[in-house]
Symmetry: C2
Subunit: 408 residues, 2 copies
């Protein structure tokens, strides 16, 4: 199982079906094998664990499982690992991953997308004719609601959207296919424990409210976005499609990769956003973005979740602070995660989208394939595939792929 | 049944429960009586209508019913009316409205709120230090995604939200209870026939995709909104609570109130937004907003759905145009609906929110109760109730109340 993201340290959760058994149900994954948790539980797996309801894994989403107490979920996950390791799971519970179809892992009630990487915001502001990041950005995590109906599980195709935009360099509005389709390198996380409408949550409890993380590609049509942003923010420019990786890596699995934040906040944040355990206020998750074109694979960028100025825990506390309510299965996008590393020539290596890398679409990026082939990239072409990966702790575990193809 | 909104012309649909039978199920309403449609169908009501599945009314939402063909829904609605009128419905199917609890009528997957009244936008822009409405507004309906978890059925209470905002007249950011809670007079409409992800719809088919209309109060915390708007648009300022009236008045019931639009669009809209049947491109629905304070009722404003610059049919076609997908039960807010009528003193009578009426919160509005009592209104006080009503065709039918109370 060398190099698999789905090591025994991982035990992620997802929802799958097969051709023979097309009803979506819950699963975990070990290497190239998918463990059907509906069958596992029906066979008596984890049945003695307090609070565990075996039928939860027969559901077509992980919401029922995520609603159980975190102690129960941890114990179930640990038991699955022990049972796999000890060969206590019947062979008939496993399916080859290549024979499965993955579905959205949770029923998503609301989807909010943040804008919380300082480097990303600095780079974007420079091209948005905003001389600097608006002052409010430093006082609370910036965020908008996005479109649930457009969330797709990896691998997915994304049809080039049409919309209204200004022809490049003019003030002439036209309606037609977007000419500036971009990706955004993000992570997503799902709410486990809900926050009732009208109530708030303590930032120090944030980890209890998060079920786990996925990779998230917030496809963005920059021309539609720039046309429509004033004054209500992004809509179709970002709401036409969002691709997520299908395996949720749990907070339990990620806890050991906790680290301090990268950037000390200045001005200091309000008390309701100050995470107490400074040593564990962020997560060290390495991110990679690739382009696949004409059978070749090109690395576009790398980054790290810990680069975020506003951490997921602060994001969630801010989200809950106005009493809007959070439900199990709600999806949060971290926002594009850019960093500030440069190569010997001063070229930025950690840019989370093409809008940054191409300086607002004005310059092409030259990419090098592993076999030496080259590609030029400005905005995405029909047939381009964008693939994200993420790894923790020297490949101790990973997230698998978040893969999407733009089609005409 | 004089003055009831729920005349026999109406036959709206909703979801209710009672103390004795707490499972939410579908209903219609006639005068002060609620007709339990689960019982009605179980007793054989409408059973011979082609395509009708009696079990759909036993569901806790109207989604299953709304998914049936519009011909089937029309026939069922007509049959219900005939059966009530002919006294063919068992007494045991009726419940006094006062003994029912109303729920959200549909399971809502996504909620989008538009910004489409020219008068509202002109008035707001004037106070938002924008000299004029951005040019993009005239080329496509302006819209943002809002928060599904915060949608409440009338009557509801809305807890004054906390958030980050600038202290009045300063650049000092503070965290605390909003000081500028406002209402917004809107209507909402629900999607019946879905539009699959990646596909678009024809504007002339819009009526087939709309199940019906409700009243919608988009509670707005203006201080939070103004703080957070740049650059991503409204979030907590508008996502903390939205109250809707619980009875959906169907497209069938409203069709006879079709009228031409009030304002000819200039520049002319793109062809994909041009509604063919000009004589029936808008709906004539009279709207009223009241304040209830200390036992007295004050009229705040009146307006009309037909005032919208971008009609609901254009809104829906624009929404679908980028391929984001629309699902049965999706809720659209029309945006605040203001008009330009003035009284003899030049005072504007048709302002859909306090932000407009108080000129950005700088002036109080003086209201007169029917019995001569007076009230001063700037932003809402704890304990204030806001009540919307809407009527069609000289009170031929109405929408009932959309009622919400702000609490501290």
């Amino acid at each position: 199982m060398a190099q698999t993201p789905f090591t025994l340290f991982n035990i992620p959760f997802g929802v799958f079906s097969t051709e023979e058994a097309p009803h979506p149900r819950c699963a975990t994954r070990v290497g190239e094998r998918v463990l059907d948790l509906k069958k596992y539980a029906a066979d008596g797996g984890a049945k003695d664990i307090e609070g565990f309801i075996p039928g939860t894994f027969a559901q077509p989403s992980l919401n029922a499982f995520a609603q159980l107490s975190s102690a129960t979920r941890s114990a179930v996950r640990q038991r699955i690992r022990e049972d796999v390791q000890g060969n206590h799971v019947k062979e008939s519970c496993f399916v080859e991953a290549s024979r499965t179809k993955m579905h959205l892992p949770m029923h998503i009630g609301d989807y909010s997308d943040f804008y919380c990487s300082l480097e990303h915001c600095q780079n974007c502001s420079a091209h948005l004719s905003m001389p600097q990041i608006p002052k409010n950005w430093f006082y609370a995590p910036s965020v908008y609601n996005s479109r649930v109906s457009s969330i797709l599980p990896s691998p997915s195709t994304f049809k080039r959207p049409s919309g209204v935009y200004y022809k490049t360099g003019t003030e002439e509005a036209v309606y037609g296919p977007s000419q500036m389709v971009d990706f955004e390198l993000e992570m997503g996380y799902f709410v486990s424990k809900p926050v009732p409408h009208g109530e708030t949550m303590n930032v120090d409890d944030a980890k209890k409210h998060i079920f786990g993380f996925v990779l998230l590609n917030d496809w963005s049509s920059r021309d539609l976005q720039m046309f429509e942003m004033k004054p209500l923010g992004p809509f179709h420019g970002k709401g036409s499609a969002t691709t997520i990786s299908p395996w949720i890596v749990t907070m339990d699995a990620l806890e050991e990769f906790s680290v301090p934040v990268k950037t000390i906040q200045n001005p200091p944040c309000f008390p309701h956003l100050a995470y107490g355990d400074k040593a564990k206020a962020a997560l060290n998750i390495k991110l990679f973005a690739y382009l696949e074109r004409a059978g070749k694979r090109f690395k576009i960028s790398q980054s790290n979740l810990r680069y975020l100025y506003w951490t997921p825990y602060q994001q969630l506390a801010h989200h809950a602070s106005a009493g809007c309510g959070l439900n199990t299965g709600d999806l949060m996008g971290t926002g594009t995660i850019s960093g500030d590393a440069v190569d010997a020539d001063g070229k930025k290596l950690e840019l989370g989208c093409l809008y940054e890398a191409t300086e607002g679409g004005t310059k092409s990026v030259r990419l090098q394939a592993e076999d030496g082939g080259q590609a030029e990239l400005r905005y995405l072409l029909d047939g381009d595939e964008v693939v994200f990966e993420a790894w923790c702790g020297d490949m101790k575990l990973g997230f698998g792929e978040c893969r999407g193809m733009l089609v005409g």
